[in-house]
Symmetry: none
Subunit: 297 residues, 5 copies
């Protein structure tokens, strides 16, 4: 297990520290852990993601769910933030997602273009911004250029930067796929090297070993893998993503292993809202039980 | 042997001279030579480079190693500089690497995109910036455009510019490879022509002669080759890169030949930190013995 | 006595910390104290200040004296920095003075206009900038506006900001004069409140009580006064100015009391160079003996 | 023979005229002709060009040769200008080459990317800028866009623009090659149409008629060809390039024919410095004898 | 006598050195001295200055006189440069005067407002810019702000900055007047401290002692005074101004004393052109005889 760093020890300036402290200690369990509700799937996958629970297609429903569920933040794109955050502004932290894309074209040259700015996030009272970086994409020149601007603006305005570090592109597919231990580990490190304050990664799969570099081509437990990923992120706080909906017990075990590894928290969307309202809150309660065991300072 | 130029004779403005003098005469052996610790491999190769010595995956360990080993500088990407340099700020010079890439996609169209600016380097108190130029890449239009901006900003802000001059791309592979004498010699000259203050090259291999231009297709000793490379760099100070880990005696002999040729110093990463802590320092001590024999003014 | 704050505990960002550490620990006694050589009198008072030791009119003589005397920095205006710092660039830290004025017109509306920028300081490799703030002047609107820009630029570029906090103007003259305890104490606090990293003040004179506010109109020892001034500056490091030439023993006693109070160092110009070369160095040696007794971390 | 236009009759603004007059009447023979020394081959071809005379690899040797030989200017890339021009600044005019490339990748899509700006040229005290335009390349969109910016900046800053007009690319190879009369004539006109003040072309070869357009597919003497090229350039002054080293008498005959045609001068590099020092000066003296016969006003 | 500094030893960047070398070694006596022709009196005093020699009211007459007389440069305002320099562009260096004023209002709050930019100077092919600084004026805040911008632009564009350092304002009048030794000495130093490359001052009058500071209130010979002024300017090259028309022998004696003191040259306007054409040239010939005795390197 990697020791989770205290918020005072990870090299943050005043504004970033103030905003992250609000997220981690004034919301949710107020114990330094985080449970975020991502809601960018309407752009990323389209409305099909809401067919399982049509009410979840209504952003107002989701923002209220975030408040009711005691989330540490909700991550949305600019359009929903403009129209729906006002109602609950200040009741749950806003993470403004600054880039995004549809899943209609192929991901071979994956790039998530900017559609909002750090200044938009400030204007809307957000406590962090989110940026999707496609680690391994051939379009890295554009991706790095976008991130450079976002990072510089976030530094200048004291806004925490959460990087969605997603392995993607043809070369990733050829080397074990996007959630191999190799790919997730590299993605976590890349976000850290490029200046993320917080990094969101998928849970690593050490059993996906086809064509990965030799160092990763041996037996690792999932705990060993997630431990390594958190170490690779070093002083970048780690959020583990829920990804597609899966069985609750499996998800909770992943959550437990992630926190055990030193992650700061979880960012679960479809596993939360692709079910009926009260069931969502019951699942959230179980996630909070996990987080309660890993307080930080 | 090429005579190493004095810092006062290589056409530097005041700020660049002040910063290089600090690097060369206020740190390390304080004799005008340099030993740099590069630590950009977490981005360039991924965490696999740290499997040989897991402690080396922690940037704090590396920055402290640079202080303990009496290095003249440590080269890191923006994310690590933001989070880890504060602890030792001013104790070892910072070289902020301004561009970088993962090794996931192919190098046929190699380009290392910018992810930080010279102004970032100034803000962090760095004493130099680093830029990777892929000499021979088909993407040279983007590469030159990036370098032009970096050079102009560095000139304007008095910041020394260290160019990682790396032959790369399909045409290089077809003409003797990336560490042939031909390729390294051309790379050193290119950096000099485009305005580097310091150039980092690999040690040249004159025996790699397959398909190189006729001028290079004859017998050269490695000393003759490295002599020529330093001459080609003319008033651009030369750093010889260690590259992949190899045997200590071979590395030390390369170091000796490089300094004999008039290089200003060495930039050794994996050969230093891909081993246990005390062994790292022992190897550094041997490198320093070499540098001690080549004082400059 | 006020405990001198450690450099790591005064809220500095990375670049400011790196540069101040260089000044305080890589030059002079390398013990966290500072002895600066100010050389802006050619502008502030005109060449008459050099009549006592004509050699001191030559900036090259002064820069060399700063190197020979082991000073922690030399403070000059832009013109001398451009023409004379190159020769010794990096051998002694440069503090670029950003504003200044002649003493030809009256000081009733005192304002020291900007003649250089923080970007100039960066370009010249300076480790700090200096700004003269006339505390109490009727022209405070222009003065604050200038300082606001300098402070913002210094923050953005990681450059330590040293404020020459000088009580000045008709109202100051009417309330005890420019070096009363009241005026100096207020000036130190003003610099701290407006964002100085380091403040330069004159030694306070508690005996100048004519027309000062009642709180200052009682008996204070000079030690009590300077203790209070350093406390007023709180996390702003304090430099005590030498001012006009006076007797050596009196100056040394002021130096001792200042360091005892928790000042970080001294900034002595005319008392140093308004005498023959070797005598200057003898006086510097005595100042260094004082500083050696007050190491910091 | 085309009458060479007087400098006052070619539509130049004040700054361009002042700078060209300096080049043509204050240096060299001071008779309105020009002999330039180009030294961009270290980038364009690599250090192999210096194997014939290793001393020529040292830029300082070349700049001094330009002074000794009474050249009207020396054309170098930004890196060498920054480091080597200071020593002889003002003694021989500087032409700053603004773009360049290595010869490592194929020329099928030839483009010479910008690596410096007109503002750099002004800052360095240059009297002209050079730009390589690849006439016929498929990458003409980028090429024209670059030239457009350079031309506009040069117009704005009164800086003469010398265009290296080089036919290049697959289509050129298929229509007679890069030094056919057809290609050179078209290149001269293209430079003139796009706003060059001076154009540098290779000597045209009317005998290279394979696959050229019918108009060029008949017998022309070399004098007729170069006459036509100078006419095509109209008020754009013409420099004839020496190209690869060839026999002296042949080069001198080309020089004579060029001047007879109305060219303003010659730009000879490898033919000058790919030989021993004194032999270089002897050859230059013969070139000057030719130029002396063609004074202009 | 102060030794005149060599152009290579006064801390100039490449462009400034190139342009000053052209002025000092490619024009006039080509021996490192300078004779400038100022022609800004039409603005500064109005046409009354041309009544003595009406032909001198025609700028074309004056530019030609500068060429005929072998001057090292002519200093004019933007309007005349735009309209009259083209005819002789490149034949005599242009110094573009960037500010100026009429003499109609009182000089008590003297300020010479900008009317042109360094970029204008570049565009017109000028080799230097001129700026009038009123040392001692109460309007120093505006004056310093203007000069700061001009200095920064000149630094950025490699353009030498000549400061007309004129004591002016009510306080100056109260302390000995504008050409007292005290005032001229302070003015020379002020220009140097604020970043002039060259300073133009009036010849100092040590006999004007009424109300000057005590240091200046004793007997100095005019040679002692001008020696001191040149020393105060240190690495700033000094030009002595002719001022109002006076007797030739007196002017020549001042010229001789100035050069003996280490001045770089003279800037004589009314004394040259307020007389008939051939008489002007005869006087110029006598000035050149003086300059010929003081070659520099």
């Amino acid at each position: 297990m990697t020791q989770r760093a205290s918020l005072g020890d990870v090299g943050l300036g005043t504004g970033k520290k103030a905003r992250l402290r609000r997220i981690l200690f004034q919301h949710g369990l107020r114990n330094g852990t985080a449970l975020f509700l991502p809601y960018d799937q309407g752009l990323e996958h389209g409305p099909r993601d809401f067919f399982a629970n049509p009410g979840a297609g209504d952003p107002r429903y989701i923002v209220r769910l975030a408040v009711e569920g005691g989330f540490n933040g909700i991550a949305v794109q600019i359009g929903l933030a403009e129209k729906f955050y006002w109602d609950y502004a200040g009741e749950v932290p806003l993470i403004l997602k600054l880039n995004g894309k549809t899943d209609i074209p192929s991901d071979a040259q994956a790039l998530s273009p900017l559609h909002a700015s750090v200044a938009d996030a400030v204007r809307l009272g957000a406590d962090a911004v989110g940026y999707t970086l496609y680690v391994g994409t051939p379009a890295l020149d554009q991706d790095f250029a976008q991130l450079r601007q976002v990072r510089a603006d976030a530094q200048q305005l004291g806004m925490p930067l959460i990087v969605w570090a997603y392995p993607r592109g043809a070369a990733i597919e050829a080397k074990g796929g996007k959630d191999s231990f190799y790919a997730v580990d590299y993605a976590a490190r890349t976000a850290s090297e490029l200046g993320a304050d917080v990094v969101k990664v998928n849970f690593p799969h050490p059993e996906k070993r086809a064509a990965v570099p030799p160092a990763y081509d041996r037996d690792f437990s999932s705990q060993e893998a997630v431990d390594a990923v958190v170490r690779s992120a070093n002083r970048t706080l780690v959020l583990i993503s829920g990804g597609e909906r899966a069985g609750d017990d499996a998800m909770l075990e992943k959550a437990r292993e992630s926190m055990e590894a030193g992650a700061t928290g979880l960012i679960f969307g479809r596993n939360v809202w692709q079910r009926e309202h009260d069931d969502s809150l019951r699942f959230v309660a179980r996630l909070r039980e996990v987080l309660a065991k890993y307080p930080s300072t």
